[in-house]
Amino acid sequence: MELDERIRAAETELEKKLLIVGELTRRLESEGVRPIIVGGTAVEIYSAGEYQSYDVDLVVAQRERAIRALEAMGFQREGRVWYHPNWDAVVEIPDIQLSGDMARISTVEIDGYQIHCIGLEDLIIDRLNAAVHWGSREDRRWASTLLRAYRDELDIEYLNARAQQEELTSLLDELWQEVQADG
């Protein structure tokens, strides 16, 4: 099935977004460029679609190449984002450098594509940062959700070290205490 048909047949927004990122990743990786999903779409992936975001945030070291690939796929610039009118999809490249460890990114297989996503520990740090600096209770809630859902699989040493670097230790400790109190 052609990409356009697959996207139109997608049953969820997440599936549609990941097919688009899959195609973008396929095009860019052949040029040695690796786009990495960060932000809300990363939370959607690790929550299997439980969380919902509008756009896809990508970190791409060579932003200009990514823009060329997006435009070749039919995306058009709308302010600081790229919008695809037929697919009603929005992509943003907020950064060229990952706020986290490149060695910890996850590869996700979806429908014949491979996409790359910020590591779980770095994503939790991202949500904690938003909770502290924006006063966002929603981000605090999702940091807590991810801690609980993946408590036995996280690299706690790395998570604690990053929390310390970013002055998030007190919120992280608070969330761990809640996790332990709830069993």
């Binding site: 299997a48 302010g79 600081r80 009603d88 929005v90 297989e109 999702w142 699989e153």
Partner: protein, 73 residues
């Protein structure tokens, strides 16, 4: 009673999204009214249960230390 066709609503939705995009305001705004702590705890519990169910059913599968598979069907 007003009658709407799905195609019209869908087109309007796209127009609204484009307008929001141009204003740079498509991103979710922080919730201004805090939830009750019990509601927040309940939402966390439900989300954790759904993630665990997705993994138990194989919709989200960890296939290696840093490798995952996501299935929609």
């Amino acid at each position: 009673m007003a009658n709407y066709r799905w195609e019209e609503l869908k087109a309007r939705h796209q127009q609204v999204r484009q307008l929001l995009l141009r204003q740079g305001s498509l991103k979710r705004l922080p919730r201004s009214r805090p939830r009750h702590p019990d509601e927040e705890r309940l939402l966390i519990d439900i989300a954790v249960r759904r993630i665990r169910r997705a993994r138990a059913e194989g919709r989200l599968a960890k296939i290696d230390a840093r490798r995952w598979r996501l299935q929609f069907r």
